[in-house]
Symmetry: C2
Subunit: 402 residues, 2 copies
């Protein structure tokens, strides 16, 4: 008998048939004697429909408080329907909104952070052997206003409940059946992993594997919540994400590709102290995440700085830096969006110095030129031309995992 | 400077254009310096769409708690959109769900009664000069579960807020521009009334005029809330509903038709004490409202009882009585749904004995036979063949008000 938290996304409950599919998955575990808490997102296109309604009222964007009021109705609909389906199948269920489930957040409407989950009501319902269905993505701030958690919010809701209730496992149902060593649609030899550590998962997620939202993995790591990524369609084990993972024969967990990347090059900067500080401080003020940084000495005592930013923040970064032209005194500023980042991730990498070399060799053999390199304790990333992306992933994957 | 509570129904906010129409009506009063609280129903077909979603899950009907969870999402959407529209037009607005507005109800899901409205949050927002948009039809029970108020719930929500806040007026916007002496689509000479008393309005509503829900008028009478029924489309005064109304030259306020009526006849009952008690006690147990009752002596020492019930409760009534055949020992039981009730309503009627006679004369002149008669202090009702309904209304209306 375990306490299991399950999270299903919007496409899993898009219509009545899928709602019953999800209900059956829940009931299977409930009938084995487990206590089950389920977090659900809004149905399929509901959120998009509600956003469109808001756009008809104000194409320039409405107040975030009212957007949260509007959007949180989406999960309210899906939790009620899922509870009805479970009841129809003969099991007791009760749906709870974010505030009823005890989600307290800060007041940043649209991107609220969870401050606390007071799961008293959930515990009370569980003690009556009810299956509890909780609206993901939403909470309440100290003014009693509804807030939403932003991107990946329902994953975070599920992990927060699991942490608060010390659940045995938090299962995140997705449209893939686990975490793979590379994108299985692109790399036929990609391997599904049985287990992966939080840190590895974080690197893979931030590198574009996009199976789990980083916020939820960070929270799971912080509160030591064991996660499982598994398929909402097929009944089979997925990939477990936890703190320490038994090392298998391979050092490398996976190869990830991130296309949401651009390079910005500032050429002909005066070579005086504080120049780099000014640049990256300005970008930080605009909340732009800088990843790989390359600094080189240019001609005539000047220097060049090249760095990568997320592609979707590129134009903001360029605009911010152009506004500093007088203060910085550089020659040219240009952005290149034709690049892609390919990375290998693996926890034991730091103690095996040959790993990076092996990756570079694989790329060399495939005739792919490397523009920039970045390494951390558990990953090696290279920046290459975007047109070689899939070729590079396959070459690197086959070298380590093929 | 007044405190004005306004209520708009679902068709008034069915699309973006109508939402802006409503927003402009609200802003007009706000800009005159008034404090404005607005109660809104779910948009146009939203409630029907949600009911259909529930039906797809369980055609036999889901639990009432989950239905309330589902349906209350409808007003959540409309209040957010209306607040957005008001903000777009440059005025400050804040939307509040039933529980945020302080609606405490009992636990009868689907037909909950309001126990208290703690309007602290509304007052707080009003004091900041915000226009407050409240979700009608919904509240919270003592277990922190969402409840809905049932038919006409949003009218009741508006009156409850007006009562709790001692508002100067509670304006109910509808698709007609006031209360008429008869249905203006059927009777061309129908007169719009400037004022009408609560009791007269209650009789007219219960008799099928259907402008205002009875529950809301009863509550308005109890807490002495002045109501105005007015058009959501045209800007002009409507009909005021209040305690004492100055008597105009005419004694009769209006003529109403009620088609939701059927007669049930029980023929050949044993003429012993307690028979009537058994019948009407049984109907009361099934929550069936009996209106006009006629008892007559039949042949062979038996008696017959005929009474009217709402048409939509007719088959339940018949089934309940058939189950008593052994206990009651009657000959036949039959229901007749081809009848209609036509009534005249007017507060001073009791002191003018000629009123009923004048009504009967008008029907006689029109060649319409009367089956049953019922009178109260402020109304006279007759039951006639349904096919004469409109003819009867016109004849009676012209006799008194033409």
């Amino acid at each position: 008998m375990s306490l299991i938290v399950k999270k299903f996304g919007g496409s899993s409950v898009a219509n009545a048939e899928r709602v019953f599919n999800v209900a059956n998955r829940i009931i299977d575990d409930y009938k084995k004697g487990n206590d089950v808490v389920v977090v659900v997102s809004a149905q399929g296109d509901t959120t998009d429909d509600l956003i469109e309604k808001a756009r008809e009222i104000n194409p320039n964007g409405s107040s975030k408080r009212e957007m949260d009021m509007l959007l949180s109705a989406g999960e309210q609909i899906s939790i009620a329907l899922l509870a009805m389906a479970i009841e129809k199948l003969g099991c007791p269920a009760v749906s709870l909104l974010g505030w009823q489930a005890g989600f307290e957040t800060d007041s940043h409407h649209g991107i609220a952070r969870i401050k606390k989950v007071t799961a008293e009501r959930i515990k009370n319902e569980i003690s009556k052997r009810n299956i509890v269905i909780v609206a993901g993505f939403q909470g309440l701030n100290k003014y009693d206003d509804i807030t939403t958690l932003g991107r990946g919010g329902s994953d975070t809701s599920a992990v927060a409940i699991a942490a608060s209730m010390k659940a045995d496992i938090c299962q995140i149902y997705t449209d893939v059946d686990g975490v793979y060593s590379a994108d299985p649609r692109k790399v036929p030899t990609a391997i599904k992993m049985d287990e992966i550590s939080y840190d590895e998962m974080l690197e893979l997620a931030s590198l574009g594997a996009q199976v789990l939202n980083n916020r939820s993995v960070e929270m799971a790591k912080k509160y030591n919540v064991e996660l499982e990524v598994l398929s909402s369609l097929e009944v089979k084990p997925g990939t477990i994400v936890k703190e320490t993972v038994k090392m298998e024969k391979t050092l490398i967990r996976g190869v990830a590709k991130d296309s949401n990347v651009a390079t910005i090059s500032i050429v002909g900067l005066e070579d005086t102290p504080g120049v780099a500080f000014k640049i990256f401080n300005k970008l930080a003020q605009h909340k732009i995440n800088v990843d790989i940084i390359l600094q080189s000495v240019g001609r005539d005592g000047t220097k060049d700085i090249t760095f990568t930013v997320p592609l979707d923040q590129g134009s903001v970064a360029v605009k911010a830096l152009e506004g500093m032209k007088d203060a910085l005194d550089f020659k040219t500023l240009k952005m290149d969006d034709s690049v892609v980042k390919v990375s290998i991730v693996g926890a034991g990498m730091e103690s095996h110095p040959g790993v990076a070399a092996k990756m570079f060799e694989a790329l060399y053999d495939a005739g792919i030129n490397i523009h920039m390199i970045s390494t951390s304790e558990i990953k090696v990333s290279v920046l290459i031309d975007g047109k070689y992306a899939d070729k590079a992933v396959t070459a690197v994957h086959d070298a380590f995992l093929g």
